[in-house]
Amino acid sequence: MKKEKIGRIARGCFGVCAVLAAVAGIFRETLPQESARVVLPVLCVCMLLSAVVWERCLSRRLSDFSNDICETVNALMEGREPENFHPYEESEISRAQGKLLQYYEKMKDGQRQSEEDRQVLQELVSDISHQVKTPTANIVMFTEILRSHSLTEEKRGEFLRMMEVQIEKLNFLMESLIKISRLETGTFVLQVKENSLYQTIAGAVEGVWAKAEKKSIRLEVDCDSRTVVKHDPKWTAEAIGNILDNAVKYTPEGGQIQINVRPWQFYTRIDISDTGIGIAEEHYHDVFRRFYRAPEAAAQEGVGLGLYLARGIINRQKGYISVKSKPGEGTTFSVYLLN
């Protein structure tokens, strides 16, 4: 602070002397010879002196600045709080220190992220082993029965069918997990381009049509066939398909599923409404969790990956999904795709 003051005084002196010298220079004809001989050299000496002081102060400030920066970097490398740390001041050093610390934090974020990733992976492995355990145990049990008991042809067929169901479950789980791992590890690139949303929805509907027909569920789509939105058709169809699959699963026979598409200013909104069992408000967040199954959904087949995957796919395209529901009346999932 003191140095800054001296610097400012020196700068002021230099300025004043320079102005006086300039004035004296301009009016040198009118100035008495005697005084000009004294004033001009004095002013020049003053200017020189103040310039020297000014320059000293500047270089001192510069060296203080670089010392402070070095000290900050040293402190960060040693993992301690820097000395002379002034985070909230209107000075150059404060701004530079702030940015250095921000950079340091960002680097640390990378480390933290890989630590978090490792934890996520661990949780995933534990979740998977938990999910695989039951069908595998069942298959082992059925194999044991088939091998060690003499059974009638009819009973044999029954056990084989039960085994088939378990194998199908494992297969489905495997496929979903592959998709999730590809999505989470970023090993695939979403092809987000302008595509017909109508076609994508048609593709998704096709996948559930037969199941809906079986339960006499009416499926209606209200979408302008000319609607074009930036999205990856294959993965978006997968996301919408997963939501539709749930809708069919949790809607009782004779129910209704409605798809409405509304283009908005920034997003295109796709509402998928059903007349199913609904979701309680406190579980709106949970339904998107990996392997989450609501107690009332236990009766239905499923592993709890569909909506998790759907949200992941839509988020990766800079869109989002929200849900609104009334238990016992139905649910609306809204998918927002960025235009």
């Binding site: 985070p87 909230y88 001041e89 209107e90 404060s94 701004r95 702030g98 921000q102 974020d109 933290r112 908005w264 200013q265 920034f266 997003y267 909104r269 408000e281 406190e282 709106y284 967040h285 988020n315 800079k318 869109g319 989002y320 929200s322 849900v323 609104k324 927002y336 960025l338």
Partner: protein, 221 residues
Amino acid sequence: MNIVTTHHLKKYFGEGERQIRALDGIDLAVEKGKFTAVIGPSGAGKSTLFHLIAGLDEPTEGTVIVDGTEISGMTEEQLTIFRRRKIGFVFQDCALVPELTVRENILFPMALDHMRPDWTYFSEITGLLGLSEKLDSYPKTLSGGAAQCTAIARALIMRPSIVLADEPTGSLDAKTGQNVAGLLKMTAETFHQTLLMITHNLELAQLADRVVHLRDGRIIG
């Protein structure tokens, strides 16, 4: 890692029988890089919490730590700089300067801090928020959505530690509100920004990674 931590945060207004306990012991932790929504009915203490975290008001009791610094010990001047550098604000009414263009409004915090703008980052933000064509327009010519997008861009430009949004869609119709909330989430995610949104709208809160329910000055879940 938490960007914001509050310990037993209390804020009372008035005294004696007329005392109003706006916040009554809030322990909140906002995780870095995540989107947290604080939801509650009006009078739950949401705005008071917002003001305390932003250092716009002092707590009756308790502490607020933002990015490792306890803000109660700061002088008014330090608080001003702290808010400028560490917090990006998105208010309900946008709070744009009418005399400045969209570009100038977005760069305003940088000008206050004598910082040279990072033009690549600037065009990335404005591109994502659909403002590239409107940079020379004045706030009064903008739609409600575009004005709020300008406010979002302004909040992000300093790469703050946290973006605080207080009912960012409060003055918009439902449709535009959903659009703007989506963009807020999307841009925060794109630039790995921590976002704390205060709202009474359950539909908007769903966009968050974590929802904190506030009622009568307490966290209920």
